[in-house]
């Protein structure tokens, strides 16, 4: 049964391999890709029900016991996020069946999407920090290629900036891993938590945690390490942007969550303060930046930045309420952000460009699209009763309980800024008089479904909040939950690499 844990990694890999075998047959690739995306959703749901019923499961890959081998840990946060990944993957694949042009499909678009999903799934399920580095690189490299596939000039420029900044982050991550192994003798997350709890390596806590903060902060897009995000997210086609915005930054946020809440639990509050300040600045940057954008996708990229700041604010609170609020917001953000980008892609297909100043009158010619876009925009801002409201409400409550009122103030203030940005975009593109675009009542299936999802979020709130509360509970008690996944190590095989 525990072998099921490897399936969210194996299934997308198999799908990608099958797509590669059908290299010159785009129609077959589309079928295989769709089937693979469905299979991933089913696997994720099965894994989720098993873990919710029986508690965290662990798979020691290759039979090598932890902490000597690599363990895949299916704790509640891991399987919930794998389910989120699968749903986002399905939405993007469904959308890209119609919208990705043959010049991208001919060069491996579909296998790359599934390799990216494999990397994200692996990053959420792994219990070993070096394995996390490997999955980071898998999803990073596939995102490099997806970003530059199509080779338009903005894409290539953006790809160079994206590659550079993310490679710097990877190098910092490697250094942090090396230093961590040198001081603590282990890279297994649960073993790390245990050793730090026993008091080993306390003096190195701050430098190590700051190095991890830089490495994961670049990946998550925290200010001042965020510059690659608005420089690159608006260049690839909309379905690729949707995939990036819905998944990649969340992997960075979850890595921050796991490392700071599980491993570095005994550091002075300075690290939490640094996180809180960076989160606050990210929210403000996102809000202010969104207000001045004329490119629809760049506006959405800045609103993604705003969302990341909100999530990291929840982490910086270091409380059960904060962690569960972060995960609830993450689930909302996955649905709403992907929907926003997919609908922006439809706007592009109707009007031929993304420049808001040249659009107008879309509400008259494309009513379905307008309604869906408006709903998703309000959901991203946090207007009740849509999904964003519940995420932000949970964060506000956790922030006030945690005594960080100023963070709450920044959260609410930046939400107003993002609202202003979206209302401006609505006015420029939809409401004002203009020639509109290609008329039609239709809305893209994936975008419309996800927009409906932001509405349905309120009806599913009880089970979602219960799962998030459980995640907060588990993260606050690593002795009972995460460390338990280590298994019993053989005492005669004690490693003596601790210096």
């Amino acid at each position: 049964m525990t072998n099921l844990i490897a399936l969210p990694i194996v299934v997308p890999l198999g799908t990608a391999a099958a797509c590669l075998l059908a290299w010159n047959q785009p129609r077959r690739q589309r079928v295989v890709s769709l089937v693979g995306a469905f299979a991933l959703v089913i696997i994720a749901v099965v894994l989720l029900t098993i873990v919710l019923r029986t508690g965290p499961q662990v798979l020691h890959v290759g039979g090598w016991r932890a902490p000597f081998g690599i363990s895949l840990v299916a704790d509640t946060i891991g399987v919930v996020l794998v389910a989120m990944t699968a749903v986002v993957g399905l939405a993007v694949v469904v959308d890209s069946l119609k919208t990705v042009g043959p010049e991208r499909e001919a060069y491996g678009y579909h296998p790359l999407v599934h390799i990216l999903l494999m990397g994200v799934g692996g990053a959420f399920l792994t219990g070993d920090l070096f394995n996390l580095y490997v999955w980071f690189e898998v999803l990073l490299i596939s995102s490099f290629v997806l970003l530059s596939l199509g080779a338009e000039r903005p894409q290539l420029e953006a790809a160079l900036k994206y590659v550079t900044l993310n490679l710097i982050a990877s190098s910092v991550f490697l250094c942090a891993l090396g230093l961590m192994y040198g001081t603590l003798g282990t890279l297994n997350l649960a073993d790390l938590a245990q050793r730090l709890a026993n008091g080993e390596g306390r003096g190195f806590g701050i430098p190590l945690s700051m190095m991890f903060l830089v490495a994961f902060g670049v990946k998550a897009g925290l200010v001042p390490l965020h510059a690659w995000l608005p420089a690159s997210y608006h260049t690839p086609p909309a379905s690729v942007s949707a995939l990036f915005a819905g998944l990649l930054t969340k992997v960075g946020v979850v890595a921050l969550l796991k490392v700071f809440l599980l491993a570095f639990r005994f550091d002075p509050p300075m690290t939490d303060t640094v996180l809180a300040w960076m989160a606050g600045m990210t929210m403000l940057f996102g809000g202010i930046g969104a207000m001045v954008q004329n490119d629809l996708r760049r506006l959405l990229a800045f609103s993604v930045l705003n969302g990341i700041g909100a999530m990291v604010m929840g982490i910086s609170l270091r409380s059960e309420a904060g962690t569960s609020a972060t995960v609830l917001y993450m689930l909302h953000s996955a649905v709403a952000t992907v929907a926003a980008f997919l609908l922006a892609g439809e706007v592009h297909r109707r009007t031929g460009h993304y420049d808001l100043r040249q659009m107008g009158g879309l509400a008259r010619v494309a009513p379905g699209l307008s309604v869906a876009w408006f709903i998703v925009a309000l959901a991203l801002v946090g207007v009740p009763p849509l999904s964003g409201f519940f995420g932000k409400l949970a964060l506000v409550r956790a922030g006030i309980q945690g005594g960080q009122g100023w963070s709450v103030g920044i959260l609410l203030g930046s939400s107003l800024l993002v609202l202003a940005a979206f209302l401006r975009a609505w006015n420029l593109a939809f409401a004002r008089e203009g020639e509109g675009g290609r008329p039609g009542r239709g809305v893209p299936l994936a975008g419309a479904t996800l927009a409906a999802g932001t509405v349905a979020f309120a009806f599913l709130l009880a089970p979602l909040a219960a799962v998030c509360a459980r995640i907060g509970f588990e993260m606050a008690r690593p002795e009972d939950t995460v460390i338990g996944t280590l298994g019993t190590p053989d005492p005669s095989l004690k490693p003596e690499s601790v210096r």
Partner: protein
């Protein structure tokens, strides 16, 4: 010995960062390669350096004689080298294509995606 390698790591990082802030795309990528190598060397250094003590179990024993060279960071470095090799290969192809599309090797020309 450890201090010498630390100094080498520092010099490599400095050289890499200096190169990355230069004018051409190729210098940027060379700098990235240097930083990757510096990170690998840092892993090697941070986990303890041993001379001529391979982690081999002697006849009739169960564990290698301590202190021995640690095989785990060498495996980590190998993985990191392979990953960075793939990434640099892709980055070079990307740089070539970007050079052709943009028409110049100057990093400051990569501006059409910023409004």
């Amino acid at each position: 010995m450890s201090i010498l390698i630390s100094i080498v790591v520092g010099v490599l990082f400095a050289a890499g960062v200096y190169l990355m802030m230069r004018r051409t795309i190729v210098q940027l990528l060379l700098g990235l390669g240097m930083i990757g190598n510096a990170a690998n060397l840092m892993i090697f250094n941070a986990s303890g350096l041993q001379r001529s003590r391979p982690p081999l179990v002697p006849e009739g024993g169960t564990v290698p004689p301590t202190p021995h060279a640690d095989p785990v960071p060498q495996a980590l470095i190998l993985t990191a080298i392979v990953i960075s090799f793939g990434v640099i290969a892709f980055a070079l192809a990307l740089a070539d294509r970007a050079h052709r599309e943009v028409g110049s090797d100057h990093v400051g020309e990569l501006r059409s995606s910023d409004e």
